[in-house]
Symmetry: D2
Subunit: 490 residues, 4 copies
């Protein structure tokens, strides 16, 4: 039932996923050095589920099948489940220092489950039944599913139907008896390449004119007409250097993003979960976004833990760990990181059941959570760069640290020179110091900075999206009444 | 069993509490206009317990007696209880926009309960039994108890026993067969005057030399030898102006602080909960401080709600509520306020049972909570002052707004002139505008600023106290291991 | 020529200024304990001009008369003059820890001087000549002039002419051969009561419909039809307590605000500097605001110096001055304070001559200066409250510290008890400790908080006013061109 | 006299500078794609000096020779010169969006000039004469000189002489009649490779035991025994991709860092400026650091201008430029950037002459300047990432945007697909949008982030170094006296 990490890797090999990068089709993308670290993050979510010490966090008993499933495929049955979700994410963040991609599926499952229930109730459709069957299939096969929401959007000042090119939002191109044909694309898709399946949702609330854009469905990664274009990132090709290790900072794990193109993809009826009921697009978006904003109170906190540890090590290695300002900066990093965690836990603890029976997070607090995530990781990174020192960005490559090219007047090799001048305190070798500084480089301004910083900013919605929700959920009128009462205004 | 607010007021009249202020003994302090607003806050905690819509938050079933008790007298039996505590505090903050003082007792009960259990277990003493009996008495009579910790401390660089004046920390002066005599004082006591009882705890961890200072006990407010000196606050005497109302901003509620002097007070054996077991002083302090740092994630959030509402009203009244920067500032205030709430909820949801059976909060997260409280209320106030406009501090007194003194060339009265020139949008009268601005004045830099700002800073420990705990609880070594694993350091 | 402080006080006695407060006309307002501290601040600007060590900062050679004048009455002749203005203000802030009120006149002189020159050039009017004669009179008599801009404004969503009550903006009620009659009011006037003269300017840019509101003129404080209503402030009446001293924190100096009513005041032609030329209202406002936003980079920095010193003393007195976090907070306060000073100096150093010949500040940088002033003093205050400790708001009154009422069991007086328990380190007496804490109370949340905090927020324009100017002056299009060039976009 | 940019390039070709990178000696480093962008920044400082519109900023009249020299080689003769320095740097930042490296030489010239004057006066040495001759040579030949200060430092807890390896601080290995032999290294050297000469200074204040480390001198880049090891940076090898252009974001300009090794380099007597007079090491460091901290108030502001422009363009291109929150973020970026400029200008305007006659900046304000630079660029970058949107890090490579590989069902090429889905508003082509987003990627987390972020943090000293200076220069005792005076403490 629960795949091991290795089984997951093998399952990917059986898929005919189409990936384009640098102008070429990448056939063996699974072993491609730029892609593999990202796959390894997903693999970790499989492996940890087999680790006895994490079994309570990583697995759950399915309310659909009664079987033990990976928690990433679970419908939350309680606020305890919601809190465990956050803790599972913190754990995965700690183990990968990267985005592990599987939460979008989980967040989509929970949002689609409750929304389809309410659609069916109102519209007499069968989307919920479709979805329950689909989710059983996912759970039974321990699949990873890319929950995809963001469209390219074109001119942001225009509605979907008003765009010059109708494909800039994914839409129903054709309705057939046995299903629909969809066209368009989803962008910023972090886990798409590593997923078995895709669960597509509309990107925003929609009106009558946009009803062709109000569509939700699932399909396998290698369905006909679907392909992906790989996004490039800071330092991406460093991963392709021979014997890449030390300079990567985080050799085994990393992130990626892709554009997922739907070039007239056929979706059979039993995989459709929304089809033109535009008035529910907003609800689906809000619920998915709510769950996903909760997620950031777990995953980025886990990454933050690693950064704090790395900064503390860098201080040790530099011989600066006794300085009061260093200690205080580590406290501040911890304080900010745990504040994010508080938000993740709080919106979970304040969750409540939906009509369909699974648990929803507190929407206001989840938006507050994500809003803080658009700020604090940047300050955590700033403090890490402060503690690390400039060496993080001025050290020679590890090739130099290993080179036997003679450069000194007395025949010293380049390796000897590098190791000599970059030696620091007795608590570490020069290579160890380089390793920790390269890790910090990677997370602060290398490829992992995409995941830790930019994704913290824009993942699950850009900051202004949360502010709109905070305004909406903040119940300002009730607060005005409180003030009137106190101030003696009738 | 549960007193009404009025019964509470009457119960105070029966006490012979000694209060000194402005060089005099205040005999009828209960009706004194400077003191009464503070009493009214406590009264609210009694009245709300009778309000059917709040009964779930405000009351609980005692694990000691099986009876319904005010939650402020309850031992937390679950994380649900811990969360309800925070919500009860937010509610009380919303209803008073002030400190309602009763949480120190609740926090002390829970800390003393679990600590005495562990002392007895180790030392064979009977403190826990003493305390359980005492708490039953408190619950059965619905008493308010001042949990008191902070000593004057004298020179902060010196331990208690090393102070020039031994009384600068409260201590056991004499041990008798039937009890002890204590001497010293507790300062910054917010609720002392309004309390029936005092529950005294040591102020810090202590060594063998300080064992005479390791003492915890309870006594009634009017025990022989105990008296209080009233602290003065910003705008305190404004409350004594004739017909004080509008200018107060918050006519009915307010705060106060007192020095509580123990001038050789005798404590009988059955009211003693710690007596020279200095090695437990630290545990007691840490637990009380932990609970109390949680508290700030509730009470100040409630006050914040009122401030946000008042700022929104001020914008309405000024005719500025459509400006995008005003809306954004209200969002920011809400965001900060809810972040505090997240911290209060999170440290509750992550609580766990003590050996004695009641529930303890998560210590790291409670300290993170309070640390944020030392920052965000200041920014909330800054934004409120921004939205309010300068009028908040430049308007004439309400006497002028009501004066029929002729001042204009055509016989206009002072009242007419004031009402003419301070008129704003149609949505309010000038007096209503004044009311809301005076409320903001009061909370930003008037007497309530003491409760909302300075108390947020120093109550339950100054910021550095939390940073020390965050450092201690942050488990930096585990984080270093995470970083080593990722960076490939053995 | 240059009055002494005492001569200034006497000169006020000769004026028939009408002041209303608490429903009464205050005849001897000069010796009124609530008003006098504010007068003393102005007095300081006279006294310092006679102090040899400050003569270079406090005086200048008039370009109009060739005589030595108080710099507050000077037209800036160079960027050196502009920088000296800022330094003079820092000095006055250091000597009073308050607003010394005289800069609005100086800022108005410089703005009216250059604007009238340009009006006359375009419109053929004689305002500049009028103004030059007026300013000679001011310089020759060493007068203090209240430069007044802010109208009550009523509904902020409406233009002056569209207000329900036409008087909510000051306007020309009648034009006569020999002058005009004006009606309306100016609010938030800090120095009005202490001024010999008033120099009135319009409050915002105006259109054709508002031309009756486009008016600038001067008149003496006791002109017929002019009167003032005193604004009340935090802790205002504390100044009226018998023997008020220690509890005031700053016994000698303070601030005040008033509403200045123009009840059909006649202005003769030679005191008119703008009369219906509405297209110049914006220029006048912008220039005055520019100078005045520069001012805050001096005066509030001087107050900040005193706060930093007081916080450092509080740490000494508490025995906490060796703690690294205390030292770091003092550094941060200094850093923030000096950043404000940098802004004040920079907009001065980058000044340039106007067409009329006096020097104008750099408008962008002056707005940046003031914008920072709406933020940093709040953080400085927060840090000061942190360092001070809670005692700042919980100490008994000084009456208690001096009371011989017996309160202890052994006959100890209230004074003895207070002095005993509030003793701290050996470096101070308890009264000295109280003095410094009361000073901090006063500046953080007492009457001086109005000047240091709220005035920093709203004086010279609220934060959003600066943001609009920063947007306008920031030349975003030129910056876009720089980016295109670098990015290779044609 | 003044070289053109092309002449500068040619002059480099004549040097035998030794550069190692990736385990190899790079012979034609001048045309190496990773190095050339950094050389182009220096080239810009030569080219701009020939541009008539910038001649006043870029050149000055030498006080040594009376000839026109590049301002980068000038001794400041006035506060005007100091302000022009800052403006020149802002200009160069705007033209390169990078570090242009030439200021370290200028800052070293001015620091060495005044310090050697004072050494000679006290010690009877001839360092000043040596230096004046050297500087004439530099000015006459329009050379660029790497002012180098930072040693590897090894264990930061140990003094130079106490390090296990004596070479971890650069030192005098041998004193000969005709000169000295030096050994050690300087790290984090930004401009070293592109410089004709090196001007070496000690890295910190030193005691008697460290006198062998108290050494200052100059030598050409290709002196025997000197070589450099190239540091690797984020995205460094992207510059080596074929047809690298769009993906670079900033094709023409960039930064670099190197380790400069002194492997027993001989320095003749006339190029020595400090030799064992350890008591002057601190003065030299403080002066150089002061000038260099001023520099950051110019150069990074220029880069900030480009970032603001780029963010504004990104908003235009995304069609989001009308959103009020976007406008507000651009205002905030401008505000922060101009605050830095204020600090740069202020410490210049407050400069004063040294004993040697050149002008020194205000040390306190220069440290305040740099301290702000360790903060605000991080927030500017955060806001830029917010405005840019996630596309900045998820877009495919420009190879994909140009690929004619067929990928669509109807034969659409990869280029067509990319251009289709990444189209946005009508105001730009998709490639232009990509260009501006790649520029932002580069500056936020690509190779230029090293220059804009990490260098802002650590260049000219890490944040704590400035805090120490702020504490030292803040004159806290004088501030205490101000507070005592106000509070009435004798």
């Amino acid at each position: 039932m629960l795949m091991t990490g290795d089984q997951y890797i093998e399952s990917l090999r059986k898929l005919g996923t189409r990936v384009y990068m640098f102008g070429e089709k990448i056939d063996n993308w699974i072993d491609h050095p730029m892609i593999r670290p990202s796959i390894n993050c997903v693999k970790m979510t499989y492996d940890l589920a087999h680790d006895p010490q994490y079994v309570d966090l990583m697995t759950a008993k399915s309310n659909l099948t009664g079987e033990t499933v990976n928690r990433f495929g679970h419908l939350h049955q309680s606020t305890d489940d919601l809190r465990k979700k956050v803790k599972m994410q913190r754990l995965c963040g700690q183990k990968t220092a990267s985005c592990f991609q599987r939460c979008v599926g989980m967040d989509a499952f929970n949002a689609v489950f409750s929304t389809t229930f309410e659609i069916d109730k109102k519209c007499g459709t069968k989307y919920h039944e479709n979805f329950v069957e689909y989710l059983k299939y996912v759970q039974n096969n321990d699949l990873i599913v890319d929950g995809a929401m963001t469209d390219p959007k074109g001119d942001r000042g225009l509605a979907p139907h008003a765009q010059k090119d109708p494909d800039l939002f994914l839409h129903i191109k054709e309705k057939r008896e046995d299903g629909i044909v969809v066209r368009g694309a989803k962008c910023h898709q972090t886990g798409s390449i590593n997923s078995h399946e895709h669960l597509i949702m509309p990107t925003q609330a929609m009106g009558e004119d946009d009803k062709a854009y109000a569509v939700a469905f699932a399909c396998p990664s290698d369905v006909e007409g679907l392909y992906m274009v790989y996004g490039r990132q800071s330092c991406d090709t460093r991963k392709m250097e021979p014997n890449a290790d030390v300079d990567l900072g985080n050799k085994n794990f990393g992130g990626q993003e892709a554009l997922v193109v739907f070039d007239d993809v056929f979706i059979p009826n039993d995989r459709i979960f929304l089809c033109e009921e535009h008035e529910f697009a907003g609800m689906l978006v809000e619920r998915f976004a709510g769950y996903h904003r909760q997620s950031y109170g777990g995953c980025k906190v886990g990454v933050g833990d690693v950064i704090i540890g790395a900064a503390a090590l860098a201080a040790d290695y530099n011989g600066a760990n006794k300085a009061s300002h260093i200690k205080d900066k580590l406290i501040e990093m911890t304080h900010l990181n745990e504040t994010l965690y508080c938000c993740g836990i709080a919106c979970s603890a304040e969750g409540y059941p939906t009509e369909a029976g699974n648990y929803q997070i507190d929407l206001l607090l989840a938006n507050v959570c994500k809003q803080n995530v658009t700020r604090f990781p940047y300050e955590i990174v700033r403090l890490a760069e402060d503690i690390a020192g400039g060496l993080m960005v001025t050290m020679p490559s590890s090739i130099d640290f290993n080179s036997d090219l003679e450069v000194g007047r007395n025949g010293e090799t380049l390796a000897e020179v590098c190791n000599k001048f970059y030696a620091a305190s007795d608590t570490c070798t020069t290579i160890e110091r380089m390793r920790i500084l390269r890790f910090l480089e990677n997370i602060c301004l290398g490829s992992s900075a995409v995941g830790y910083r930019t994704e913290s900013m824009h993942g699950a919605g850009s900051p202004q999206a949360q502010r709109i929700m905070i305004a909406r959920q903040g119940n300002i009128n009730a607060k005005k009444e409180l003030a009137k009462e106190i101030a003696g205004i009738k």
